[in-house]
Amino acid sequence: MRRFDRAAEYLARSTARNTSRRGFIGRLGAIVTATGAATLLPISRVRAEKAAVPIQVQEEGDPNSCDYWRYCAVDGFLCSCCGGSASSCPPGTEPSPITWLGTCRNPTDGRNYVISYNDCCGKAACGRCNCSRDEGATPVYQPTTANDLDWCLGTQTGVAYHCSLSVVTGPAD
């Protein structure tokens, strides 16, 4: 739990540093302030499923394709092609507890959504469906929005990167 606590503290500090930013970072700050950093951490919502959770019924597109709308800022191997899905880690991997967030527009309803790009960790790289889009991605010194970083750093299984998720965390506006 120590790593988890550190991650929450980091996100809170980082958000405080960036509260003057415009755009979705500002909105992210509002979310963190309102709900507490820990509830943003995807690990709090991880549960086991017998099968990879598919995309939601009202979505359109192919989650095995780099063109799929949620992947607007991803950089890595798509978990959909690696035994998981856009929101499910493949078996035997561990979801990263912290990650970076992007904002993508869902073409079906025209709304922007905050997407959490958690990594699945603990095995060597999947190597399938490499996808690099980078919309809104920033340099590594702005880590909360950087996709060049290996976000497996908070896991118990180590930093070995396997694949990337793109999880809908809620509307951005």
Partner: protein, 403 residues
Amino acid sequence: MYADRLKGLPLFMAALGLLVSSADARPAKKAAPPKVPVLATEDVTLVELKDRMPPHWVVVNDVVFTHLIDGRSYIVDADSGTYLGTVPGGHSHVGVQFTPDASTLLIPATFFSRGSRGERTDVITWFGLKDLMPGAEVVIPPKRVQALPLLSSIPLTDDGRFMLIYNFTPEQTMTVVDAAAKTLVGEFETPGCALAHMTGPRSFMMQCADGSMQSGALAEDGKITLGATTPPLFEREDPASDKPVRIASSRWLFITFSGAVAEVDNATGTPTPGARWKLTAAGEEAWRPGGLQPYAYHAPSGLLYVLMHEGGPGTHKHPGTEIWVFDVAAKKRVARLPLETPSTAVSISNDADPLLYTALFGSGTLVVRRPSDAAILRKVEGLGSDITLIQAPPVAPAAATAP
């Protein structure tokens, strides 16, 4: 038409069979073996390289993205296109640091006790160029940043005394190793700021999340003290790349995703913004710098080589389709050199008669070019899978001539 031609095929094949049969029936004539000396018995030998890296040898780094635990560096003679040897790099390989005399490579690396899992160990290992064998090593805190490779995450002071390792856990700290004593100095907090761009024997600048710059200093025992910071120098919407260009001991060019250039000097220990200019002129706004190693600066000529492509926001990792050459002192473009193959990395040797290098991530090919027009001199193919950074060695100052 074709069916008519094929009608005769069985007859032809039968005739051919007869010819072969009759040939087999003849008594065989053994050709006399040529009279040459018997092959000598051989010993197994082991190649040794030079004591120091010549200016046109180059280190090509491969992160091996699909097998990240197996990063490595290839050493290539760019004059001849000869592959000279391999140095292992471990998980999430960045690159090497050359000692100032170019005789030794320092490689920070991450390993797991059971391949891709198990206990993590981060270690700096010294590889002598001559035998490319792992020599001394210093185990460092297992925290070094795991990211696409950035040389400013593993800088060595100009005199080779200290090596700095940027950590991200996500706490931000800097590990310092005494490279002369080969001991760990310690780990120092650098909250909110990342990387270390060296600005003198014992000073550096860091880039911070709000777009500001932070200065840092190393004491003679290697301990880090953080100094002055600047106000934010860059807009969130157009951040400076994390791959700045060192143009003098204390001066760096920070170039934004859209191609705006800002010079920052840390000579006084306080980062001081200087001239601002743009890579693009009016009407060229669609062009942007991009790639994993988009910039190469050649100090003897003062020329900056930049990989440029046409694209909008979010294309800062796209490969360049042209190399634009700038006279940094004049802040003026002096050439546009189209590339026949897009490239994600550009580098240049540090001597007065340089070679220009490019590579495309995923191609496994190093392209050696003439700097004046980017004409291809030779290609070195089969260099692994995912070339990231190309590193030319330092050029030792010319030895003093005997009186």
